[in-house]
């Protein structure tokens, strides 16, 4: 990070004052992971009034480290997500909101590189003052699930509201990342398949709001009818997350992103979903779910790092994979028992960040 001489604490203070450059630097730190990311996350958590584990109360935040309305947006490639986000966030600015967008695109599995093209469709939104950050998945296991919530919190800290996370709705992780939001918007288009296809796709189950984009196409009415049929079935069996109080029938908004048709309705629908959740007392539960998922992601990473560093160099050249793993797992267990997995940075280098766990105090 050349040219940046400020400490993390100074960057956090500047980001709270809505400085865009400091916000961008913090996003970079969180994305890269490791101890600096942990420090940013902890400072952002306290700044947003996140409760300590002892249960102290919050100010401005909700106790789970959130102020902003977090909206996940996903859908198949080519559905018009970026174009829709551009039109929708521009309208949100006109309504007095300060939206930020985290646009996630896949990295090449072969080279680790990526072409992040969302800004091409978002010139209008940038001009309106929308903060847009492009992000590549960077391939590492669980990395996306780990980095995105931290980056959302940085944007929240900088005063952006709503914070929109846009992912391509292909792949479990991408859908999961978008679906742990306060409101989940799924963008579909005419011609994506009949009602049976719609039922098959797990993507559709996570939606709180549907946008049928490109609805100036002749078969738009069919697409809408297919969605309604699918939702009729869900009326019988229950919508989405039973027991969270948000199991109401999702709304369907017809949009044409390129001309702005339906964009006002979309802004109304996402607002209404938030309001309804608050009224039903369901928002806190949903955010607790998200908090739990975030803890799980961090734990997965610690365990993964510990097991990778435990088996490093001891992988045999052949053998039945399951049996090899079982015999190696003893080494992992020894590693976990003999070495403390650091819960705080003062305990030493986190296991596996630079290979090799630190000597523990057990």
């Amino acid at each position: 990070m050349p040219g940046e001489t400020r400490s993390i604490a100074e960057l956090v203070a500047a980001a709270r004052g809505s400085e865009r450059r400091a916000t961008a630097r913090l996003l970079t730190l969180v994305e890269r992971g490791g101890p600096p990311a942990d420090e940013v996350a902890e400072r952002a958590w306290s700044a947003l009034g996140g409760r300590a584990s002892s249960g102290a109360t919050s100010d401005g935040g909700d106790g789970n480290g959130h102020r902003a309305h977090v909206i996940g947006l996903t859908g198949p490639p080519g559905a018009g997500k970026s174009t829709l986000v551009a039109a929708w966030t521009t309208r949100l600015v006109e309504r007095g909101y300060r939206p930020a967008v985290l646009a996630v695109d896949p990295s090449s599995p072969l080279t680790g590189g990526a072409i992040l093209g969302d800004r091409v469709r978002m010139a209008e939104a940038t001009a309106a003052g929308v903060f847009i950050r492009s992000m590549a998945t960077r391939g590492h296991a669980g990395g996306l699930a780990l980095a995105v919530p931290g980056m959302v919190r940085v944007l929240d800290l900088a005063g952006f509201d709503p914070v929109i996370v846009e992912t391509v709705g292909v792949g479990q992780v991408e859908v999961d990342v978008a679906s742990t939001a306060d409101t989940v918007l799924v963008v579909v288009t005419p011609g994506m398949g009949d009602a049976v296809q719609a039922n098959k796709a797990g993507l559709l189950e996570v939606a709180d709001v549907f946008a049928v984009n490109k609805s100036d196409r002749p078969d738009a009415a069919d697409a809408r009818r297919d969605l309604e049929l699918m939702l009729d079935l869900s009326d019988l069996t229950g919508h989405g997350r039973a027991g969270t109080g948000t199991d109401t029938r999702p709304s369907i908004i017809s949009t044409v992103a390129t001309t702005g048709v339906g964009v006002d309705d979309l802004a109304d629908a996402t607002d209404a979903h938030l309001t309804a959740q608050v009224a039903a007392g369901a928002l806190a539960g949903r955010r607790e779910d998200r908090w739990r998922a975030e803890v799980r992601s961090h734990l997965d990473r610690l365990l993964l790092d510990a097991s990778r560093s435990a088996i490093a160099g001891s992988l045999p050249a052949s053998g039945a994979p399951g049996a090899v793993a079982r015999s190696l797992s003893e080494g992992v267990a020894d590693r976990l028992l003999g070495h403390r997995i650091p819960g705080d940075r003062t305990a030493g280098e986190p296991a596996g960040h630079e290979g090799g766990a630190a000597e523990g105090d057990r």
């Binding site: 990070m1 050349p2 040219g3 865009r20 450059r21 961008a24 630097r25 996003l27 970079t28 890269r32 992971g33 490791g34 990295s107 090449s108 080279t111 680790g112 590189g113 990526a114 072409i115 992040l116 093209g117 800004r119 091409v120 010139a123 940038t126 001009a127 903060f131 847009i132 950050r133 492009s134 590549a136 960077r138 590492h140 990395g143 960040h353």
Partner: protein, 133 residues
């Protein structure tokens, strides 16, 4: 996590509708393991600066096929400096050899002409990134 990919903003600056070269370069840089934030056609120094700032980019690459490099190249370098962004600029496209000293004098970190190989493109962007203080 071990080696963070370089982040490169690629744009066509000004009125110049030929973006095939830029698309080829985007692909070369991706295949070289970099993250390319692609802005595409008809960008201004302001829109590029917005992108560089929000994306925390390491290098700016602009493509010039309209002979505007002598005017717009230095202007881009100047605009970034005025914004307090220490981010090097690489220009690709049609830059006559006799203009290269002027480009270097204006602070352009690298110039890539027609026929540059993928390896040369990647090496030039990497070298530009390494010039940062």
């Amino acid at each position: 996590m071990n080696e963070t990919p370089l982040r490169v903003v690629l744009a066509k600056l000004g009125l110049d509708g030929h973006d095939r070269g830029l698309k080829v370069v985007a692909r070369m840089l991706r295949d070289g393991g970099m993250e390319v934030v692609y802005l595409g056609l008809r960008q201004t120094t302001d829109t590029i600066i917005d992108a560089v700032e929000q994306e925390d980019a390491d290098v700016v690459g602009i493509s010039m096929l309209n002979a505007g490099h002598l005017t717009l190249g230095p202007r881009m370098v100047e605009a970034l400096a005025d914004a307090g962004l220490d981010v090097p600029v690489v220009i690709g496209g049609i830059v006559p050899d006799e203009d290269r000293p002027a480009m270097a004098a204006a602070g352009v970190a690298g110039v890539l002409g027609p026929g540059a190989s993928a390896d040369e493109v990647v090496a030039c962007v990497r070298a530009a990134a390494d010039t940062r203080s």
